[in-house]
Symmetry: none
Subunit: 186 residues, 4 copies
DNA sequence: AATGAATGAGTATTCATTCAT
DNA sequence: CATGAATGAATACTCATTCAT
């Protein structure tokens, strides 16, 4: 939620509103998908539509801020020594189930989407690339796979999950990974 | 395309227009997805909006006509003695690449979607179930898989393909199946 | 219902269709009101829309044919020696309940409506005028009333009845006349 | 009328526009009836359609704002000690002549219409019930009548008035009441 | 003369984006 | 700098009327 109206004029209030907007967007995009009305985000944040547009001049910039969060969490997780590729995939799946907009990061291609989105995508790819190398050296993942294969797997699950009604998402995600696990195994 | 405007009032033109509408819907749904504006379909068909609504009173009936084609082709293919599960998956992939709306058949669940759509889904499922049985008896597909796993695989590919820009669809579909093939193998 | 398609080309078939259209219009106008879709009338009659327009080039001509029936019945009733004003009002009320379009005859004014409608209105007025004279001479109706007062009473009931949901029409008509009867009494 | 287009974005303009919309609705509903196109209201108010929907999310809320005025006036009038049932009927008749939508309040039945409309209807009924009691005690109105009879009378007049062309409304209303007055008299 | 399909203007509603305060 | 109201383009759907067959 944004801070109250009167308290909202100062410098730090702007940051508060920004945070409120991102938090609201996480929820709203997660529930209604990436194409949810932006007015819904503003309302959920308790912030005027104008402010939303000041902070995020278009839908993509708002999405970026949301995904930024996701990716940063992922990078933090990846930074821990005990984290494996499997941990990361689990986390991504959780993010996928939580936000059906997540698929739009994963599937962003430089050619098509806003170039800013691909930056986020690239960070996911980098994180997965590292973990994949480790998992392959440890013999847990088939050697012949490349990072793009893992991205593909993640993308397939995310895309399917985004299509099913929210009540079915977790089950769909679990079943999908159960199937894909076989494809990754050595 | 529909026949020219003035020459178009008679009874024989009805079938022409119906065909033109389905053809236009194949294209428009294929390009823009299942939720494309129906007016775009009418325009592409060169037909008034009213005519679209005469032939197809709602979006689902139009979609059914489109999907009906797909599924009938699939059933015909399945009817031939030499057809295998692999052939069917190839054909489904082609349909998926051609129409990003195809995913909506695959993922239609009785609970959520129009019951008429699930009928089509069920026909796809039936076709796959048969072919899966044969493939398992022949030892080409892992025994532990059930029809729903195959639907899941098909759904994942379709969902992902629908998300990427059209130029990337074929490559995405091929890569996805390359990966999934490992998951189906015994 | 119109005669079957093949049998329908001759001279008398035209008359059949005309009758079917009027009968259908009685029902459809009665149920949905005067502004019901004309296509609904054609469909109920089992007749093409084109034929409807051939017989009745506009809504008013169709309405006239319907009302014509009503008025003719009324005139027949009025022609019987034992018929009183009260009988006529009862019949008009029945027609009103049966057809919420009836109000449009009663309230038609030369200035406003199609002149053809006022012809029908005038026939109703003539019938009532005669009966009113008799009733006044018999001392059953107040002397100070003129025909226009009776038309007014009929119009009020018809207008109100046309406004209420069909289930309430009879009760509304009865209650209205119970009240108005006092106004007509000497 | 709303304030000019460019000068119109601020907060104070909201109230202006709301007023303009209600005023426009009074006119448009009055002229064309309750089912007039809402776009006509927006246009008459000089306001975008979106603004109309912001202020009044559906037809009923707009109607309520219009009728609210009517009923509040009525209640104010009823509050004065010297006001009689006859005064109230006169006022209602004026409102009826001014707005052919008024009949829709009077005839709203709980079963049929939006419950919010019936609230307004109930307020009219309450006002009339009080005044009827007084008038009956004073011997000016027949004892055997109940409030619903008065509502019926009001409804009949309103329904008829709504049917006739606007130039005839006043005369029709006067003549109708002249007739009904006899029915109410002891 | 009948048919029924085609048309397109009209109405309700939603939502991204702008801008006066 | 925030606010939230205004805007209008876009979309779904209906129906009176025309016209090829």
């Amino acid at each position: 939620m944004a801070v109250g109206r009167r308290e909202n004029r100062g410098r730090s209030a702007a940051a508060d509103n920004r945070r409120a907007l991102v938090a609201a967007a996480v929820e709203v995009f997660g529930e209604q998908g990436y194409h949810a009305p932006l007015s819904a985000v503003a309302k959920r944040a308790g912030v005027g539509q104008g402010s939303l547009y000041r902070h995020f001049p278009d839908r993509v910039s708002l999405a970026l801020a949301v995904f930024e969060d996701n990716v940063t969490q992922l990078e933090e997780l990846a930074g821990r020594p005990e984290t494996t590729l499997e941990h990361l995939l689990t986390r991504i799946t959780e993010q996928t189930v939580a936000s059906i907009a997540f698929v739009d990061i994963i599937t962003a291609r430089a050619a098509a989407a806003d170039p800013r989105l691909t930056t986020v995508t690239d960070r996911v790819r980098a994180v997965l690339a590292d973990a994949l190398g480790e998992a392959q050296r440890a013999g847990r993942i088939r050697r012949s796979l490349c990072t793009e294969d893992v991205m593909l797997a993640v993308g397939m699950v995310a895309a399917l999950v985004a299509k099913v009604p929210s009540a079915d998402r977790r089950a769909t995600a679990d079943a999908s990974w159960a199937l894909l696990r076989e494809a990754l195994r050595p």
